[in-house]
Each structure stands twice: as structure tokens, then as C-alpha cells.
Symmetry: C2
Subunit: 318 residues, 2 copies
DNA sequence: CTGAAAGCGCTAACAC
DNA sequence: GTGTTAGCGCTTTCAG
């Protein structure tokens, strides 16, 4: 292992000089600077992470609690994580994957394994909020729990997306519309995004005086039966907002069929489905990036908005 | 922050005693042991990870290089990662998420951020093999590159799965069968699993004297056109091995249609599709677990098989 | 502009 | 069975 002492020797300077060359925290003559940098390169030196974090009391690691239970929107989770990792690395931070439970958070925080926490898969009334409050460590939630404001949250604005879809369907002339959404168990858990989408959808239906109903959909092949059932019972439905990535490929064909269907899902998923009226992009990777920027901001001591919601945009299908 | 010194004070012992109580590396009287443990609990002490790893020269962290490029089998990737994280935590190891490139590996290793590496998404002729060899750090690949034997690899036995499927289709009486597989770009990259599946399939077809062809399939809605095309040109195909999780929901209905279809995918995906003859489970989470056990074994100085392939099993659909 | 040296919190000899 | 202490490799005062 090459240490800072080896570099100092090779460059003929003291170890503090090497340290300061790397951190840029004091002015160094051009000459010594070059000698040190050459030595670093030649010896392929990279500072020992633990030694550095012991001395500097910071790890350059962010803990990420991701929902690894497969089933719910794997695609979206994956893209968010991609965004997080990319943005973190860009700022020389690493990501430590934490398990879903409370203990994972607490342990990582108390052992000073991480500088900050990023928490995904937030439910409306999430039990982890209390834990986080005790922790005295910057954290950002990806999702929007009830009664936020005391924590930092980043998410897509599902409520606005619900309204946007209704407005579009109304503009297209529909007066009987439906939201086919998350599986029943997700709604039952009051997963934050599902709750908010329903709220936006129903509020807008009310405001526009149109008849709107909400239907949970299983995210696998069973979706077909459910969708068929609903459409048979309510043949008047002519406009649809569809938010269930897993079910979409199974049922896309039977939804479209004289109806206007707006899909709410990542862009690539929407593109792979034919016959959609329009789609509203869930900018999953951007969410990850935004959340990471928020934690990095907190770490840098910047003021942050407590709630940051990415606005929906409507994509017309050509 | 509570340190080991605080605990020692509270318990009225020296810091080394506290350390030894935690590690169990020397015998401690029942009495002091209890006093120390009580102090640890009361103070909610957990040792500073960096301090520990600086002194002990090991981090209890495993670096995981996962393919975050969405598109290819998100589901499978997710489950493998789940298995890795679960097994690692069970042995008090954490997982650091590394970026896909070479630099990610090198950096983590040289900065002693991790004790070992786990590398996913291995291609037949993977450029990272060289990098790994230079690194002087235990590592396990999830996948099977060409000319393994000098590295450690864990994967599902796709070649055997190909053979198994052919045997089953032959037993069902088919003499004209087809493998609908990964997208063309995956095959072009010579992603290890795709290569091996094709080999097993074609070898077995030869051995059994049946007519077998291989067809790449896009993993989105475009799959329908491709599948329709193939089946129209070769109506004699009556038995199918289908290995493309993304495409399956789009095309399941038109494949089955008097034909026997064996799907090769995670169990939950297979279950959500109706009409399959049988399925062969891709035990993704088990792969993650097995790979993690292998690295942990290496870290523990145990002998390991260089190549470990999880055998396929056929599930009959009830 | 540069060095010397005091820690950071822990592990593991080396004492007894 | 327990305590003392020398590092682990780095950052950051304090001195010049």
C-alpha cells in the first residue's frame, strides 16, 4: 500500500504539504505542487478512505435506502438509483446500499459510515420519520409523507400529474373518465405517490364537472381480467389515465380501442406501447438526481426547500 | 459521539477490555463482560466504522458493480442485488454501489474502501478482467466470461437450461422448435448468459436431431411484430423456449396458440403469464446469495470452486 | 510558502 | 483476566 508518507518521500516534501496539495486548502508553490503531483501519479497513490474519514470526520458516502422488494415499479426504482449514483459520483461521493428496515438507517448513521441519508419508498405516514429525526444526520426523502415540512422531500408531482391528465382528457372531449392505477395493496399501504395521484385526479374531475372513477389494477397478467371487468360494467368510459407500469404491456391493446389513453410512466415504457393518446413522463432518473443534489446541498450547508416537486409534462404521441 | 473511551469509563474498565468484549478475542470474566455490555447498551454505543477499519485493515464492505443501464432484465438485476444485500447484511457486511466503469473498481479498491468486489453483467470477453487481476483484492464475477478458471464466477447454468428445455420439448413430441431470446444488441455484445443459452439450445437440438432456430427479440412492444413475423414464416414451429422477460407480457398470448411454450424467467414473472407449458426458473436472488457467499468465503480464506453454476429446474405449470 | 506534531477512535501486541 | 500503549494513514492546528 502506498501511503501519503511514500509520496512525501518521493517528492522530497513533508506529508502535510502532500495533503495540502490534494485538498487545495493552502497555497503551494508551482514547483512543489508539480513535484507532488508527479509523485502521486507515479506511485498511483490514492488516499486511504478510512484514514481520511477518521481524521476529517466525514466519509464522502451517502446511505441509500432502496426498496428491494421486487414487484412495485422495478423500472422506476432502478432509474432513480441510477440518477442517485451518477450524481453522487460526479461529486466524488459513493453510495452505500442500506436495508429497508429502521435498524439499517440507525446503524449506518451511528457508526458514522455515511455523511447523509437518502430514503426511498416513503409511505404517507412513514414510521422511519421518527427514526430519522433522532439521528442528527442530514437526510432527504424520495416521496412525500403526510405532514412533511419538518423533513426534506423530493419527488415527482403526482398530484399535478393527475390534474394535468384530467385537463387533457376533458380537452379531448371526454366526460366519463377513469384512473387505472396502482395495485390495491399499494393503495392500502398509502404509498405516498399513489395517494397523491388519486387526489389530483378526483379533484380535477370535480372541478371540471366530469365523471371520474378510480380502479386499482394488479401489476401482472391478472390486470386483463380486471380491466375487462371495469370496461364491461362501465362502457361509458372513453378517456383513461393509466398508471401501472407492470400491467401496461398486458392490457394496452384492450384499453385503446376507440378510447384515449394517457399513460403515466417512464418515457421508454410509454414509447414501447402503441396507440396511446399521450403520455406523462415519470422522470425517474431526474428524481434521483434532484434528491442527491438536495442532500449534497444540505451537506454543503446551503438552504434547501423542504419540499421539491418535479412538475409533470405532457408528451403528445406523434 | 460516544466513543470506546466513554464506554470504558462508564463500565470502569480499560478500552482494550471493551474492544475485547466486542470482538470476543480473549476471555473476559462474566462480571466485567456484563458491565461492559450494559454500558454499551445504555450509551447506545456503536464503534466508529472508519476508526475500526483503519486499525483492523478491513472495512466490512463489499463493492458491487451493478449494471444500472435500464433495459436489460431489470427484474433479474434487482433480485440479484436483493440477494447480495441480504446475504451480506447477514454476515455484517455492507454493500457499496460502484459505477459500471473500470475506474469505479480501481478507485474503490485502491482507496481501501472495500474488502472485496462483486462484478455483475459480465460479458464473454470482459475488459474488466484485466483490471481485476491487477487489483490484488478478492473478487467474484456474476456471469461466466470466456476462459474463466483464473477468476471466481457464479451464475445460473444457462447452457444446461437450454438443453433442459430442448429435452422437455422433444419429450412433448415437438420436432421443430425455436428459441426466442435476448435482443439483438445483447447478443452482439456477447453477454455471457445469452451466448451460453444459445449454445446449450443448439447443441441439444443437434443431439436430439430436431430442427431448432434462434431468434433475437426486442424487449418491448416491438416484440409482437418480430414474433408474428417468425411464426408466419415458419408455421412449423410448435415448441418454443422463450427467454426475454421484457417481451413476454406483450407476446405471451400469440405464442401460446396450440404451441408449447417454456418460459425462462424469474418465477413470479412466469406465474403472471397464462397458458405456458412449463417454465424454467431463473433463481436470481439465489445467484446473488451464492455469489456473496463465495466472496465471503474468499475473505475467510476458504478454498472456493472457480466456477459455480446453479442448476436449472423445470416447473410444470399446473 | 512549508514542516512538525497532535490527534481522529479503534485494534492488537506487549505487559503483568 | 485486565491494563498500557504503539500504531493504522490521514487532516489540521501551531510554528516558523
Amino acid at each position: 500500500m502506498t501511503t501519503i508518507a511514500d509520496v512525501a518521500n518521493a517528492a522530497g516534501v513533508s506529508i502535510s504539504t502532500v495533503s495540502y496539495v490534494m485538498s487545495g486548502k493552502r497555497t503551494i508553490s508551482q514547483d512543489t505542487k508539480e513535484r507532488v503531483e508527479r509523485a502521486i501519479a507515479e506511485l498511483r497513490y490514492s488516499p486511504h478512505a478510512s484514514a481520511r474519514s477518521l481524521a476529517s470526520r466525514s466519509t464522502s458516502v451517502i446511505g441509500l435506502q432502496a426498496p428491494l422488494r421486487s414487484g412495485v415499479d422495478v423500472h422506476v426504482v432502478m432509474e432513480i438509483v441510477t440518477g442517485v449514483v451518477r450524481e453522487a459520483r460526479e461529486h466524488a461521493y459513493d453510495i452505500l446500499l442500506l436495508t429497508g428496515d429502521d435498524a439499517g438507517l440507525t446503524l449506518a448513521a451511528r457508526a458514522s459510515r455515511v455523511d447523509a441519508l437518502l430514503v426511498m419508498d416513503v409511505e404517507s405516514d412513514d414510521p422511519r420519520l421518527g427514526t430519522l429525526a433522532q439521528l442528527d444526520m442530514p437526510s432527504v426523502l424520495i416521496g412525500l409523507p403526510a405532514g412533511a415540512e419538518s423533513v426534506y422531500c423530493v419527488d415527482f408531482d403526482f398530484e399535478a400529474a393527475g390534474r394535468l391528465a384530467v385537463e387533457r382528457l376533458v380537452a379531448l372531449g371526454h366526460s366519463r373518465i377513469a384512473l387505472f392505477g396502482a395495485p390495491a395493496e399499494v393503495l392500502a399501504r398509502h404509498t405516498s405517490y399513489a395517494d397523491r395521484l388519486v387526489r389530483g385526479f378526483l379533484t380535477a374531475c370535480d372541478a371540471h364537472g366530469v365523471d371520474g372513477t378510480v380502479h386499482p389494477v394488479p401489476s401482472n397478467a391478472e390486470a386483463t381480467a380486471v380491466v375487462d371487468g371495469v370496461l364491461a360494467e362501465a362502457p361509458g368510459i372513453t378517456g383513461i389515465l393509466f398508471h401501472n407500469e407492470g400491467a401496461l404491456p398486458h392490457v394496452a391493446a384492450r384499453l385503446v380501442d376507440g378510447r384515449d389513453v394517457i399513460a403515466l410512466c417512464p418515457a421508454d415504457v410509454a414509447q414501447s406501447v402503441a396507440g396511446l393518446a399521450d403520455s406523462i413522463d415519470v422522470p425517474a432518473e431526474d428524481i434521483g438526481v434532484a434528491a442527491t443534489r438536495a442532500v449534497l446541498g444540505l451537506l454543503g450547508g446551503e438552504e434547501q426547500a423542504h419540499v421539491q416537486l418535479l412538475p409533470p409534462k405532457l408528451n403528445s404521441q406523434a
